[in-house]
Every structure is written in C-alpha cells, then in structure tokens.
Symmetry: C2
DNA sequence: ACAGTTTCCCGTAAATGC
DNA sequence: TGCATTTACGGGAAACTG
C-alpha cells in the first residue's frame, strides 16, 4: 500500500484551474448565495482509474488557523460536496486493474487567495485585497496578511493600476495618467519611483477632503469606463486623469473650442466631464468645465451624444456649442459622430397634407447650460427667460440685451454649427 | 371530550387577517422566495388557554383536488410551521384551568384566493386573476374557476378598473376615461352598460394590432402613474384616456398652445405624451403630439420638468415652446411649476474675477424636437444645422433661411418665453 | 420552435451586527 | 452611536420546460 501511495504521489500532477466565477473580470472573489464553478484536473492519465477517483470539496479546511482571527466566519458549500473524476475513456487494449476501495491520497493544490463577499457592493474592496495580496506575496495562504499589510512601491502599484485597465479594455494607463494618480496618492513630486504606498493609503483611508478612499474612487471610474464609455476609452479619446493645473496649461494655448475629457475628482460614484477653452467678451482666455456626468445621467444618454449635442443656451433661447476640437485637434464630429445613434427621421409617410392625424413628433434630450460664463454680470439664471418659475430671486429684469455671441451666431446664414467667435471656417 | 369540543367550536370565532404582503397594493399575490406574514386571530378570549393553542401552517392543504389539475405545483413553507398563539395575559382573578394536552380542533378560515408567482414580472397577470375571481364569485376556493372563467359585464369591469386607480392614488376614473377604455375593449358604441367582457378579452388575448393584452397595457399605465406622475394624476392634470378623435375635437377650438396629457395607446410598457394646438404657416390649425415618454426617460427627468422645458428647435438653433395652457386654460407654470426642482444656481462664490479656476458649469437636460412640422417642406433633419454627422441623407443644403417663427421670436426683447404666434400677452 | 415559467443575480435599500 | 456587514427583493436577463 505504501508503495502504491508513493507511486501515485509522484505520478499525478494536480492542477487547479482558476474558478469560473460570477464576475469574469474579478475571479477569486466569491459571493455568498451565488454559484461558481471550480475545476481540478489531473495532468497524468491512468485509464484504469477512470471513475475511481473521488473528489471531496470543502471550504476553510484549515479553519483552525482562521477561527483564531476575530470575527471570522464559517461558510458552507451547499449541495453535494463529492464528485467522481471522469476522464475520457481511451479504449486502447491496455491491461486494466479494478480498484474497489482506493487508498485515500492527500494531493493538495492551492489557489491564489479567495475573498468572500455578501453583496456586490463589497466588490471594490474585495478586489483591492486580492490585488494587494498578490502584488506583495506569493504565499498561497497567509491568512494573517491583512493584520499587518506590507507597503508597496509606486512602481508596483502603477503596474497593477494600469493592468486594471489593460486587462478589461484595449488600453492601459499612460505615463501622464499614472503620474496624475501618483500625485493623488503621494502629493506633488518630480519622481515617484521607489515611493512607498501603504495599504491604508491605497484602500482604507479617505483621501484628503474626500469621503472615500483612492481605490474606491478609481474602481468606480473603471466601472464607468467599462459600462458607459468603453469605445471612447479604447479610442484613446479620454485623457481622464489630468490635474486641473495641467489641463489649463495644455488647453490655454489652443484655439477656442478645443476640449478634453477628464474624470471627476470629487465624485465617489465615478463621473466624467469635459473642459474647453473659450474667449470671454473682453477677449480673455477662459477654461470651462461642466459639472461631471454620472452613471445615472449616462443611462439616459450616451456620453458621445452629450458631447455632440451640448449647448450653451443664452438669454434669447439660442443654442451654441462651445465644443469644436477634441484635444489636440480632432474635429468632434470625426471623433464622436460614429458613436451617436442616427436621429430618428420624422415619419414622412404619414405626413400627407390632407391627413388630419399628425404623427408623433420625435424628441431628443439635449444637455444644456442655461447661464454662460460670459454673462457673469448676470449670474441669476432667472434672467435667462427659460420660463421656469420658482427660481425667482427677486432681482430679475425683463429687459435683456442680446449678447455679442448671440449676434455673432445670427450672422451665420451657413448654419452648420453656431460656434463661439474665432473658429468658423 | 365531545362536549368540550362543541363548546370550543361555538365559543371561538376565527378571523384570518389579510396577509401583510411583499407588495402592499397587491395582497393575495405571493412570490416564491420572498417572505410574507399572515395573521390568525381569535375574536373570543379565553385566558385559561393562553399559550395552549398551537397553530400549524400549511399550503395547498386540499391539494388532492389541485393535483388533478394539469401542471399544478407543490409549494413548501420554509422555516418552522407551528406557532403557539399568545394572547395578552389579563390578570383579573378569574378561575383558571390548565390543559396539558389540548383536544385538536378543526377551526377553519378561508382567505380570498391566492396566486403564487415566481418573478415580479408575473404580477400584472396574477393581479388580473385576483380581480376577475373576486369580481365574479364569492366562492372561497374554486380551484377550477379559470378552467372556464365566466364573463363580466362592463359595469362590473368599470368599477374594478376605477378602483385600481382610486385605491392607490387620490383619484379614480371619470366617466369619460372609462368610456375610452370601454371602446378599447368593446369597440365604438353609445352605451356600454350590460355589455359582456370575457376573461380572454380582458387579459389573455392581444388587442387588435397590438402585441399585448388590454390589462397588461392598463396595468403598466397604473404603474407609470404610481411611480412617475402620481402628483400630476392626483391633481387631475392627466386626461390620460382619450381617443385621438375626441382629443382633436376638444383641442381644435382652443387657442394655440393649449395642450393635454394622454397615455400612449401603442406602448406596452406604459407611456405618456402631450398633444397641443398650433397654427401652421398658412394659419391652419394643427394638432401635434410628441412621441410618448417611457419610464426609462422619466427616470432621468420628471414629466413636469419635461413639460415645462419642452422646446421646438428650429433651423437656427432657436428654441420655442409650443405648450402654454393645460386644457382647458390653466397656464402651464401654475400647473407644473411647483413640481419642478428649482434650478441649481451657479456657484457665485468661486467666480472671483481674478480667480483662475472656474467652477463647474451647471447643466440640465431639456427635451427638444429638432424638426417642427411647420417646416414640412424640409423634412430632412440634417437641414437643422445641429452639427450631427452620420444622418446625412444626401440632399442637404448649407443655406437655410430663417423661418418666420424664428424672426418672430427674435423680435421679443422681453424674453419670458418665446411662444408661437398669437399668444404673447 | 416557442411561449410560458422559473432561475439567476446585480444593485438599491433596509435591517442587523459590532 | 456610527460604521461595517448582511439580508431583502425588484427587475432584467438567461435558462429551463413542456
């Protein structure tokens, strides 16, 4: 028996395949009440043992250690916990031996660490744990890792962060984007290589002046990218991580109407905004951003359509678009036009002149800013004549002169797009 | 023992209270996997029996009958199925008797029929069954009711339909609304009283030319009302059920800008639209509706805000609102203004002239129709100069003259609301 | 093939635990 | 008391089933 046991131990190679999980992008995170599959494979084939090897599944086998940790919890696998391994029969006329009661073998294989969550809202933190663990240790089951988690270097963290994008989209993070993230974690510096980042800084502590950690903020942006703006991200249209100072520096020398896309730094839930250059009445260069769009808003309208349709609505209900060129100089139609649904055409068939019943008029939502900054003399939006009551603050005026921009746009009989000032072709 | 049993039977009154369900508006519908409570109450108090009466719960007790029905299913109650009744102790010095082993009593109480569903999407049909059953029988457990469901009269159905609104909102259905619904079920007629409606007509068969039944259509509208436009419904602002012919008849004599709110007849999911009067270039009265708004769209913007902000966008990017008076003659601001969130004011604090960092510009969605019907000569929306590529149909022109309406609205230096033609004060 | 029915499970909200 | 964690369940989608 001992001879046989040794034979088996040296002959078999056990390979545990990564579990086919609930969340394909986030294996190793298991949610209570949700099914997952896991596969154990023998790399050596013994036809004689077909249907003779029984696998028994259990969770937290070594919970003697785990139980010592405060607040640890016992999990159970529902359903049957044993299966017989079935190899494909190979009917070559080999000798066969039948084992009725096979000797129990202790063949072990280890997964990377697994995190159990009870609600999907715990996924960001669970995944952060997986990342930090695998970034800093090869130990297969160091249950005490997070009782005193080691620090990582910026170089390690940067690689992991970029991989979060490159593994689920067609594009990782550029040096510029990573430098912006480094500054968020470590403050201003010229070289972040070798700088140390603690687990607390990465995932536990809230960022200065914010109600959420660095990782929660970033992971919500990853989610935003994957679910709402994947195509634009893959195209490289989203600069995304750029400080407001650098944004100003690169936009200021550009012609008015040049804009870039940037993630919100203040929103926990993941937001995206655009920032553009314009010239105000006095000819001074202004940098403007809109309040970031959230997932909620992007549900009803794609970001490409928002960009294409965004208008500033002046006092006389005239719309002009301040967005012309995606930085550095891509006409916005070239970049975003192909991601906009073509507009529904009016149903001309029914519009017979003599027909009494009109068809439904098609509508669309557009995103507008009622109060352009060039009217800073009149910051009260009630002046805009949008007809909305209830926002009256008392100092309204019924007389409102046309702005230079409005007059300018009225000069265009060629109405492709009413642009502010200097950019008409 | 028999004497005691008889005493008990005559002394106790068992009252089954309606179950406190998963869906408060829809009791008697039970969903698998979801908890519910049910209460059995004794109307006569015997302090001596306190904590002596044991209740045993079961489902489908008489499943001998049920099992005979094709496709019937067995359900189980999870968790404990027995409870001891506890009455509040009354410590008046009464005589007491202790019964160690109480005689089993067959005290029965019946609920109205119960429908079990496995997904909430089955709720509309489940509730329809409850309604039809209770409308037409008092039998507490006629398991075969739906093998040959009896017909109802329009009078019965009308009462039930109105009750669906009055029991969950502050307003039932008017005679006019009910007449519109009768016409959908029974076709045109002058008097629907006494007309017969089959269960199939009510809930099983699709309506003519539609992919859904009468009840599914109506129940989605009830859901729309409750979740999205409850306040407007309670105010009586929603005419809702009105035929397009009658709509035309009542709107035509009204001044341009008069509008009413009507449910979509073509959308399964529940939709609402507005219809208004306007005069076209030739002075002819036109009746216009927008494509109905769905729950999806109302998620991002309330219907009141859509109504207040709705604009027609002409070729020169000028916006005008065709909606002025809610039928018969309520100014729209009076009706809907109070249901619009006040607009966020620009964050003036940060707008110091010397400050380099501008605040975010506030944005809002507005709902527009790019191609007004008065421009029927130019049905191609590409002509609108909205700058959207990709909808080019080949016959575009770069020259587009200003419309009379546009010129008219430009004349208003008093810009409260640019209205079409005859209604400015 | 297909329509009625059930299962699966995310994501919001509420409840519970610590 | 406040935060962390779990439970509850609607609703969209996929899977199942007769």
């Amino acid at each position: 028996v001992d001879l046989f046991r040794n034979l088996m131990k040296s002959a078999f190679v056990v390979e545990r395949q990564p579990c086919m999980p609930m969340h394909p992008d986030r294996p190793l995170v298991i949610k209570t009440g949700v099914q997952f599959t896991n596969k154990v494979r023998l790399l050596v084939k013994f036809p004689e043992l077909n249907y003779q090897l029984k696998i028994k599944v259990c969770i937290d086998k070594e919970s003697g250690d785990v139980a010592a940790i405060r607040g640890s919890r016992k999990f159970n696998i529902l359903g049957t916990n044993t299966k017989v391994m079935n190899m494909e029969e190979s009917n070559n006329g080999s000798l066969s031996a039948e084992f009725k009661h096979l000797v129990t073998l202790q063949l072990a294989t280890h997964s990377l660490p697994v995190v159990v969550i009870s609600n999907i809202c715990q996924m960001p933190n669970a995944w952060a744990s997986i990342l930090w663990y695998n970034m800093l240790t090869n130990h297969p089951k160091n249950v005490n890792f997070f009782t005193k988690p080691p620090v990582g270097t910026w170089d390690q963290v940067a690689e992991v962060l970029s991989w979060q994008f490159s593994s689920t989209t067609k594009r990782g993070l550029t040096i510029e984007q990573l430098t912006t993230l480094a500054e968020k974690l470590l403050g201003p510096s010229v070289n972040y290589s070798g700088c140390q980042i603690t687990w607390a800084k990465f995932c536990k502590e809230n960022m200065a002046g914010k109600g959420f950690s660095f990782w929660v903020w970033l992971d919500n942006i990853i989610d935003l990218v994957k679910k709402y703006i994947l195509a634009l991200w893959n195209e490289g249209y989203i600069m995304g991580f750029i400080s407001k100072e650098r944004e100003r520096a690169i936009l200021s020398p550009k012609p008015p109407g040049t804009f870039l896309l940037r993630f919100s730094e203040s929103s926990k839930e993941g937001g995206i905004t655009f920032t553009w250059v314009e010239k105000d009445i006095s000819g001074k260069t202004q940098i403007q951003s809109v309040e970031p769009y959230t997932k909620q808003q992007l549900n009803s309208m794609s970001f490409a359509e928002i960009i294409m349709g965004y208008k500033i609505m002046d006092a006389t209900n005239i719309l002009v678009s301040p967005l012309v060129y995606l930085f550095p100089e891509i006409p916005k139609e070239d970049a975003f036009g192909k991601y906009c649904r073509p507009e529904a055409q009016p149903d001309v068939d029914f519009q017979e002149p003599g027909c009494a019943i009109q068809p439904y008029l098609k509508t669309k939502f557009i995103c507008v800013t009622p109060c352009p900054s060039v009217f800073m003399d009149f910051p009260d939006s009630e002046l805009l004549g949008n007809g909305f009551p209830g926002t009256n603050s008392g100092n309204t005026s019924d007389l409102f002169p046309m702005s230079p921009r409005t007059l300018d746009s009225l000069m265009h009989t060629e109405v492709q797009e009413a642009n502010p000032g200097p950019l008409e072709s």
